[in-house]
Amino acid sequence: MSQGPVLELRGINKSFGAVQVLHDVAFSVYSGEVTALVGDNGAGKSTLVKCIGGIHPIDAGDYFFEGEKVHVSGPRDAADLGVEIVYQDLALCDNLDIVQNMFLGRERKSGLVLDEATMEEMAAKTLDGLSVRTVTSLRQYVASLSGGQRQTVAIAKAVLWNSKVVILDEPTAALGVAQTAQVLELVRRLADNGLAVVLISHNMNDVFAVSDRIAALYLGRMAAQVKTSEVTHSQVVELITAGRSGELGIKNGNGAAS
């Protein structure tokens, strides 16, 4: 496990027209750890994630990957670095099956022709590696899957590519108790396998259950990035709702990290 962050953002600004959504955001993500990204609705979490994924271009700021400064100008760039994002809305095609979704945009080919057999094998191996046994057939249409199964497919799609950073935007928001437990277990296992995982969640219990670090966004500013073991539930809630808590937060040393 390397000492420095695998992915680091500094001074990120992002506006949509006249509305500035992200102000000077700094954010670091470490291998083998789950970093929880928390913040109220509209704080800019999804926007930050989309900037990392190359969906939105950043207006200003630096993007470092494994210590090197990089330019990410599209989803392909992020994927090439090994950054995979499971979006809040999952971004799956209902009219395609599980294998087709997992390889979308990066299909395996032999010559001109799609190599379905290899893709199916790799998809099966990935799902087995995640100990996923909840899908009956890899050739099922995604439309016919349950919420938890869809989430699982989206996560499997993200880890299929020997990725280094996996970001999950509110993966448990729409799930029941049992499925939430499954997904959190999966999240923890990804980090234990050495990946850097970013988990966006509103649920403090989930955050404290699986995360190693917590980063709190407040109105588009990074209020604090702290070790989970060094804060309490109520401190995090204060960071989310007020942007500060005691000596942590925006007023004291802008964006204090642990």
Partner: protein
């Protein structure tokens, strides 16, 4: 992963033929009707017309069905690409007319050889598609509006090309052969046998390779069923088309598969291959299913959109060439009036969804056959053009209704 865990074996779905049949029935019940309505409709219509008008069931009329329906089938096949994206091309009919006029002007007025004239017509189609596609994808004008404007515009271009209402006759024997000449019987038998054997070979090869890698493959019984159906259906068709259908066989013999049939078969094969076996085809479905997800997957959605319109107009140009060949001429009505609606109807009746994301090249052939049978059969029964339009319109509405209903049903059973 403690809850909702199924036994390891559940990974391997039921691979027996019984399992397949059950799976298929489940899908139909879940709203995925596929080719079922078109095939069912085709059988009912054919039986009905054969009983009411014995002339319907003659080899001569059977051959007519193909030459009458060919242009619409080809245009529909191109339209399916646009429909798969959830877009529409209302100008495909007149685009085919404009391309046909380019062909006729090049051949007859300018005396070009047939291949240059055909290339010019096809190029016209590609350019039309590029312009329409760019307007939709880059400028973001709804395709309905862009192609409605083009519908009117191309009607005008066609009038200008044929100099205000005269018609240009086509005398080039190669072009005329497309819709008016037949393949020698022995050749069609050879092609048929080779085709069926190759099809069976590919299916068996694929199944064996998948089994060799430990993957789920189609059961042998299913493959046998597919190969046998193909052999029987195409065998009967070729047999009937190879019967003598001239009234005075001694003076002039008329038999064989019309040349448009192999043209359609080749196009069907090519586009089916593109849609099912290439990454490009996969991306067409993906964009039609969820454009934003496709964009995030790194797919160039604009390029896919434009290319679909290019394929559509290119296929319209081929449809125009076939129509010109069949009519021996091009006039201001070529590709006009009912052509576009028949093509959209063919695609939808065949099972292509107007909501995007669902459809196959084969749908154009199945739905085109239904449309051609209605036109032809009702013509034989002596109904006026008015009645034919009303009936075809109703069938289109019925198909679109089935499409919408099966979509609703799929949503309620969690399939879409």
């Amino acid at each position: 992963m403690t809850t909702e865990t199924l036994p390891e074996q559940a990974h391997k779905a039921d691979a027996s033929i019984g399992g397949y049949v059950k799976n298929y029935l489940d899908r139909v019940r879940g709203g995925e009707l596929g080719a079922l309505p078109a095939v069912f409709g085709l059988i009912v219509l054919c039986v009905l017309f054969s009983i009411l008008r014995p002339a319907f069931l003659t080899p001569g009329n059977f051959a007519n069905l193909f030459t009458q329906g060919a242009a619409v089938v080809v245009i529909a096949m191109g339209l399916i690409f646009v429909l798969l994206l959830g877009e529409i091309d209302l100008s495909a009919g007149y685009a085919s007319g404009v391309c046909a006029a380019v062909l006729a002007v090049s051949l007859t007025n300018n005396g070009w050889p047939w291949y240059t004239a055909v290339a010019a017509a096809m190029l016209t189609g590609v350019v039309i598609g590029l312009v329409l596609g760019a307007l939709v994808a880059k400028l973001g004008v709804p395709s309905f509006v862009v192609t409605l404007a083009a519908f009117l515009g191309f009607q005008g271009v066609l009038l200008l090309l044929v100099k205000g209402g005269t018609n240009i006759s086509i005398r080039d024997t190669t072009i005329l052969a497309i819709a008016n000449k037949n393949v020698p019987p022995i050749v069609s038998w050879i092609v048929l046998v080779v085709g069926v054997v190759v099809y069976a070979g590919i299916q068996l090869f694929r199944a064996r390779r998948r089994i060799g890698r430990g993957l789920l493959a189609d059961p042998l019984a299913l493959i046998a069923f597919r190969v046998l159906s193909l052999a029987v259906i195409s065998g009967v068709a070729v047999y009937v088309l190879n019967l003598e259908r001239s009234r005075n066989a001694l003076i002039v013999s008329l038999k064989g598969v019309p040349i448009v049939v192999p043209v359609i078969v080749v196009l069907l094969f090519v586009w089916t291959f593109v849609l099912r076996r290439t990454a490009y085809g996969r991306h067409i479905y993906a964009v039609g299913g969820n454009a934003e997800a496709s964009r995030r997957a790194g797919i160039d959605v604009d390029r896919i959109r434009i290319s679909a319109f290019v394929i559509c107009s290119f296929m319209a140009s081929i449809g125009g060439i076939i129509a010109a060949s069949r009519a021996n001429s091009v006039d201001p009505n070529t590709g006009g009036s009912d052509v576009l609606l028949f093509a959209v109807g063919a695609a939808v009746i065949g099972g292509t969804s107007l909501f995007g994301g669902k459809g196959r090249a084969l749908d154009a052939v199945l739905g085109g056959a239904v449309v051609a049978v209605i036109q032809n059969g009702m013509g034989l029964m002596g109904y006026s053009a008015g009645v034919k339009y009303v009936v075809t319109g109703s069938v289109l509405l019925l198909a679109a209704g089935v499409d919408a209903l099966s979509r609703k049903r799929a949503a309620s059973t969690g399939r879409r």
